[in-house]
Each structure stands twice: as structure tokens, then as C-alpha cells.
Amino acid sequence: MRSKFDEQLEALHIELIKMGCLCETAIANASKALANPDESIIKTISEIENDIDHKERDIEGLCMRLILQQQPVATDLRLVSAAMKMVSDMERIGDQASDIAEITKYVNSDPAYSDINMVDMASATVKMVTDSITSFVKSDLERARNVIKSDDVIDRMFSDIKTKLIKYIQSNPEKSEHCLDLLMIAKYFERIGDHAANIAEWVEFSITGKYKGEKL
């Protein structure tokens, strides 16, 4: 009985890693698309997004089966419940990566693009997502906490970009549409950062049993 349970937990772990990998790929591609918009990359992202949706359903099913059939307790229960929360964050990351890819078609030719350091923000976000997944894979509490902290950095980057774009719109009102697109992208990245921080928080919960410093 226990061995079956262990097998299911292991399968859950592997599936989460795979889903995390898909998210990383999606957002890495999105940031690639930002620098060099290419139909094939955009298509890849939407395929990955589809895969992520499937994986989310699979993992949720697996978690449900685990809870119903095995009635896990303590750490195992924490892992399963954290997994259920994590997949929805991962799924959102996938969606937002594909949203970014959709907008990239129109923006990067704009001179405003070179003024703002979107590339820095993109790579910082990619790193956050990668780190949050890695912290889960390796049960690395330290890394998870760093991810949670680095969310503030992303937030600052977003407000920097926003300020710059406001100035740019004031001096070039005809470019305001492009600027808004850029603002959307920045917002998406900021949201992805939030989701990565959420994942890290659930990782922290599955390790320590505390969510945002409080016992659930």
C-alpha cells in the first residue's frame, strides 16, 4: 500500500518538475520573442501553453486521487496541497508568457523599446521562475526565500519602466499605443514574478509547514 503511495508521490514530483520545465521554456521563449519576434517562437509558446494546461489537469487529477485513495497526512499532505496551489500559478505563468508573445509582434521596432530595460526585467523574471522551480525540485528553502525577496526587485523594475513610459508618452504622444503595449508586457512580467513568488511561498510551506510565516 505504502509503495503504491510512494510511487504516486514520486509521479507527482516528476510531473511538477516537467510542468515547471514547460513554464521555464515558455517564459524563456517569450523573452526571446521580445528581443527577436519570430512567428515560429510565438507558435511554440502557444503549443507549450497548451501542454501546460494539460499538465495542470493531469496534476490536479493526480493530487485528487492521492488525497482520496491514500489520505496523506503531515508532510505528504503538505506536498500534495502545495502542488495543487503551485500548478495554478504555473498555469498562469504559461498564459502570461503566451500573452507576451502575442504582443511582441508589434513592439520591438519602436524606439521606446530601446530606452527601457525590458530585457533586464525579462531575464530577472526568467531567473525567478527558474529559481522557484529549482527550489521546489531541490527542496531548497534558502533559494525559495530568495525568490520571494526578489519579487520586490521586479516590482521596482516595473515602476521604473512605467515612469519612463509616462515620460516617453508625454514627449511623443503619437507613440502612446506602442508604449501601452510595452507597459502591458512589463505588467505581465511583473505578474509572472508574483506567480513565481507564490510558487516559492508554497515550496516554503511544503518544507516548513508555514505559509507566509503563519502556520496553516
Partner: protein, 554 residues
């Protein structure tokens, strides 16, 4: 074993007690029955003798002193008297009566199933032809046995308790040496002869196992030593992609900290998409390769399935660092692209001028000018090819090792003399300072190196600039520094100026006549002489390039 022995002993005891009880009951019964038979017979004979011609009244008097039943029957079977006083039917069909009528006496016994009683009849023929029958009733054998049953049960219970205790103690005593067998050294405890063959066999097998294990261990150590010292990462996984073995290099490449890989999936080591796909392909029976970038280094991941009897039992994954190879490949590609481009440029010019002249589009007075241009371009081409040949020779170490003691100061003065016309042309002054210092080296290469440095210093100088060659002799080293106050090199280009065909100011390279190979020749020459190059440059202020030769090495 203990349990089995106890149960067997208890069963045996119980069966023994039951059989004994039944046997004793049967024997007792038989004896009683025989006694009864004898006493009935004797009684019958007494009564017959005493009865004589007496009648019923006598029988009535006898009835009160004997427990036996007395029946008097006439020769036709009619009952004349019965001590029970019951009216009885004709008795001439009773076996004992029939026998008595025939032979003078007869006996029979009848069992009453309902009362579980056995009645014994004895009939005697009297002198007057009548028959006297005596009968007595005893319990049947079954009733006897049943009546003793409670005692038997009590006895069995007592004996069983006793047996269980004894059996436990005894089996404990028997089993103790077996439990205490030292299986690591079986021959040391030969307490039971019966166990000897087993123990000897175990001892032999122990030895075999030990040999086998030590062989395996040796192999394992050998394998680990080999894999641990590999710079390539090696991971062995089972068919569920769980790590079975993983060497140090693989852990260092894929993981930045301590990692206990026991029972972990390979995905725990790295979860990039290409890595997952490669590992999955391998455990599904397909050979797969991919490139993976980790921390700005490139790795080649090669995964092959492990097959045993046509089933996949796992996979072997090898990780090879290909960063150097990749950058070399890139340099080579860049070099060939550059070479073709650099060779084509002068050729295009030559062909262009030649075409103009051939087609007669040029005025005859311009012929000289075009010829000069063609000559210049051809010269440039020759210079370029010469440089490439020099470089490739340095690359291949093809230059004859004609080492001799070379005075760097003298060599520098010679070079300065040769370059003087060129310097004057650009209005640059050239000077040589320092003490005479000798090193052992190949004169031709050293000449080439310093010449190229000075040539560059003149080429990339301003009008009225200065070039200074300083030779210094230290205890262990000799250094030659070529210093100018020319245009300088931007900091971001400092690392790249030694690359082939790298020109800081690409737009002016042709004008200055540089091939882009000068500093590359210097670099290779320095490598050939084990010398170090220090470069210090500030844009707009000047450049100083120092070559430090080690006296001891050369």
C-alpha cells in the same frame, strides 16, 4: 519450529491418554463380564441343584437373596415362573433356551441400545426337562467408557498442561543452540551432528559469497575510481529514470551544491526541457544527444539506453564540456569567413581596374595610376598571404627550431632603422632606449614580433607622434616595450585586438594598410617563446605593449 514441536507433543500425549483410557475400560469391562458370566453359571447350577422337585415357592425365596433374574420355562417354552413377576410370552425361540433344550445348557447376551445395558442369559436343562434360566444385566462397554469420560478429560487437561510446560522447556533447550548458531563461522558450533552437513555447506557458501563480494567490491572501486576522475559527467539511471550512479563531475556540472542522489529522479538534477527530453528518449530506448547551456558553459548531453535481453533496463548519460570546442569552432568559422573576405577585397579591386583597362574605358594617361593601384592591391594581397602563412606555421609549430642568442636591443635598433622611412612618411619619430639584453630564441620570429608592434605603433599614430622602444634586462626576465602616443585602443577592444583580422577601427584598416594579423602574429610568437604580453592603452593618449621573456625558460 518450537510451536510445531509443542503441538505435536500435546497431540501425542492426548492421543496416548485417550487410547490408554479406552484400553483400560475395555479390559476392565471384559474381566467384569467374564466374572459375571461365571457367577451366573455357578448360581444357576446351585439353584438347579437346590430346586430339585421344589416349586415356585422356592424360587420366590431365592429371588430375594440374589440380584439375578430367575426364569423357569417348561420344555415347550412356556414361562412357568419369572422373578420380575411379569407375564412373559413363549420363550422357545430364545437362543439360550434352544441351546439348553438341545445340549443341556445354553447362553446368550443381548444389548439394549436404549438403556446401553448388556444382559447375559444362562439356561440349564433340569432333570424334569424344564429349563431354569438366570440372567444378569451390566452396563454396556459404551456406557462404561462414557461414564469415565469426565475423569479422562480432567486427566488429559492436567497432563496437557504438564506437557505444554515440559515441551516448551525441552524445545527451548533443543532450539537454543540452533538459535545461537554463529552463521559467520558455522564450523565453530557443531553441537548437533545432524546439523553438521548444513553448517559445512553454509561455511562453504559463506566463503564463496565473500569472494564474490570482494570481487564485486574491487570492480566497484575500479569503476568508481575511473568515473570519479573523469572530467566528463556520467550518470546511470534505471528504466524509471531514477539515478543509480552519478559521478563527481556530473554533480558539479548539473548541481551547485551537495546532492544525495539515492532514489532521486534524474529530473531532480536538471529540469531543462532539452535535458528532460534527452533522458526520456534514452529510457524509452532511443539514443539521444543535445546541447545544454549551464552557467555560460556549453555541454553536450549524450544519452544511450541500456538493453538486456531486448528489454530496456536503464540508460547511461554522458555530459561533455564543449565550451572550448564551440568557441574554437566559432573562431575557425570567423577566421575562414574573414580570410575569404580579406582576400577577396584586393582581388575585386585588381579585377575592377584590370577590366577598365582591358575594355579601354580608361584614358591612356590614367593607365599608370591604375597600374599603380593594381600593384598596391597585389602587394597587399601578397602581404596578407605571407602573414597567413607565418601564422599557420606558428600555429603548427612548423618553424625550424633554430634557437640562438638574440640581443633584443640590437634587434630593436635594426627594426627602428628599417621602419624609419615609413615613420618619416607619417611624421613620427622613433627611438630605442635601454641596455643590451640577450635571450635565446628564434631571431626571425622575434624580429617579426617587434616589427609588427612598431609597425602598428607607427600606423596608428598621430601626425608628429612618437614611438619609443624600451629594452629592460631584469634578473630573470627581459622585457621589450613598444610605447606610442597614438590613438590608443578602447578598453572594450583590448581583449580582442590579438584575434585574427580584428581591427578596432574597421573603416580605416585598408587605408592604414593593416592586414589585421599583426598582433595575432605577436601573440603566437610570444606563445612560441613562452613570453607574456602586457597591454596598457588609453584612447587618445597612447598604447604601451610589453613583451616579457623569461630568461630561464628560453
Amino acid at each position: 519450529m518450537k510451536k510445531k514441536i509443542s503441538i505435536t507433543m500435546c497431540c501425542m500425549t492426548a492421543i496416548a491418554v485417550i487410547i490408554t483410557a479406552i484400553a483400560i475400560s475395555l479390559i476392565g469391562y471384559c474381566k467384569n463380564y467374564d466374572e459375571m458370566k461365571k457367577s451366573i453359571k455357578a448360581e444357576a447350577e446351585y439353584v438347579a441343584e437346590a430346586m430339585g422337585s421344589k416349586n415356585k415357592a422356592y424360587l420366590d425365596s431365592v429371588k430375594n437373596i440374589t440380584p439375578s433374574r430367575i426364569t423357569w420355562i417348561d420344555d415347550s417354552g412356556n414361562v412357568l415362573y419369572d422373578s420380575t413377576g411379569e407375564e412373559l410370552p413363549n420363550h422357545n425361540d430364545r437362543p439360550e433356551v434352544v441351546q439348553a433344550l438341545e445340549s443341556g445348557s445354553g447362553e446368550s447376551s443381548r444389548l439394549s441400545e436404549t438403556l446401553r445395558e448388556q444382559t447375559y442369559y444362562y439356561a440349564l436343562k433340569l432333570n424334569d426337562g424344564t429349563i431354569l434360566r438366570m440372567a444378569n444385566t451390566t452396563n454396556s462397554v459404551y456406557k462404561d467408557i462414557f461414564s469415565t469420560l469426565p475423569y479422562i478429560i480432567v486427566i488429559i487437561a492436567v497432563i496437557l498442561i504438564f506437557t505444554i510446560i515440559t515441551a516448551n522447556n525441552e524445545t527451548e533447550k533443543i532450539i537454543k543452540p540452533i538459535n545461537e548458531l554463529n552463521l559467520d563461522n558455522p564450523s565453530s558450533n557443531l553441537k548437533y551432528d545432524e546439523l553438521a552437513p548444513l553448517l559445512i555447506r553454509i561455511e562453504k557458501q559463506n566463503e564463496d559469497i565473500e569472494k564474490y563480494i570482494s570481487r564485486l567490491r574491487a570492480k566497484q572501486v575500479e569503476f568508481e575510481t575511473v568515473t570519479e576522475n573523469m572530467s566528463e559527467g556520467l550518470i546511470i539511471v534505471n528504466k524509471k529514470a531514477n539515478i543509480l550512479s552519478c559521478n563527481k563531475s556530473a554533480l558539479e556540472i548539473l548541481n551547485d551544491g551537495e546532492f544525495n542522489y539515492t532514489n532521486k529522479s534524474i529530473l531532480d538534477l536538471n529540469h531543462s526541457k532539452s535535458f528532460i527530453e534527452t533522458a526520456e528518449a534514452a529510457v524509452n530506448g532511443k539514443h539521444a544527444e543535445t546541447e545544454l547551456d549551464i552557467d555560460s558553459r556549453s555541454y553536450m548531453i549524450i544519452a544511450s539506453p541500456v538493453m538486456q535481453l531486448n528489454t530496456i533496463t536503464g540508460a547511461v548519460i554522458i555530459i561533455i564540456d564543449i565550451t572550448e570546442k564551440k568557441s574554437r569552432d566559432e573562431l575557425r568559422r570567423e577566421f575562414s569567413a574573414n580570410v575569404s573576405h580579406e582576400l577577396k577585397t584586393p582581388l575585386t579591386a585588381i579585377s575592377g581596374y584590370a577590366e577598365i583597362m582591358k575594355e579601354g574605358w580608361a584614358k591612356p594617361e590614367d593607365f599608370r595610376k591604375f597600374a599603380e593601384k593594381i600593384y598596391n592591391e597585389a602587394h597587399r594581397l601578397i602581404n596578407l598571404i605571407e602573414d597567413i602563412i607565418k601564422l599557420s606555421r606558428l600555429d603548427e609549430n612548423e618553424i625550424e627550431l633554430n634557437r640562438e642568442s638574440v640581443d633584443i636591443l640590437e634587434l630593436s635598433k635594426n627594426i627602428a632603422l628599417r621602419l624609419d622611412p615609413k615613420a618619416k612618411e607619417k611624421n613620427v619619430s622613433i627611438s630605442v632606449n635601454g641596455k643590451s639584453a640577450c635571450i635565446s630564441g628564434v631571431r626571425q620570429i622575434l624580429d617579426e614580433m617587434i616589427y609588427n608592434l612598431c609597425d602598428n605603433a607607427i600606423k596608428y599614430n598621430n601626425d608628429g607622434g612618437k614611438v619609443n622602444i624600451i629594452v629592460k634586462d631584469y634578473t630573470a626576465n627581459v622585457s621589450v616595450t613598444v610605447k606610442d602616443n597614438g590613438i590608443g585602443i578602447p578598453a572594450e577592444d583590448l581583449d580582442r585586438v590579438f584575434e585574427r583580422f580584428y581591427c578596432v577601427d574597421k573603416s580605416h584598416s585598408k587605408e592604414s594598410g593593416g592586414t589585421g594579423l599583426g598582433l595575432s602574429i605577436v601573440k603566437h610568437g610570444a606563445k612560441f617563446h613562452n613570453a607574456k604580453i602586457n597591454i596598457d592603452s588609453t584612447p587618445g593618449v597612447g598604447t604601451a605593449i610589453e613583451i616579457v621573456f623569461n630568461k630561464n625558460i628560453n
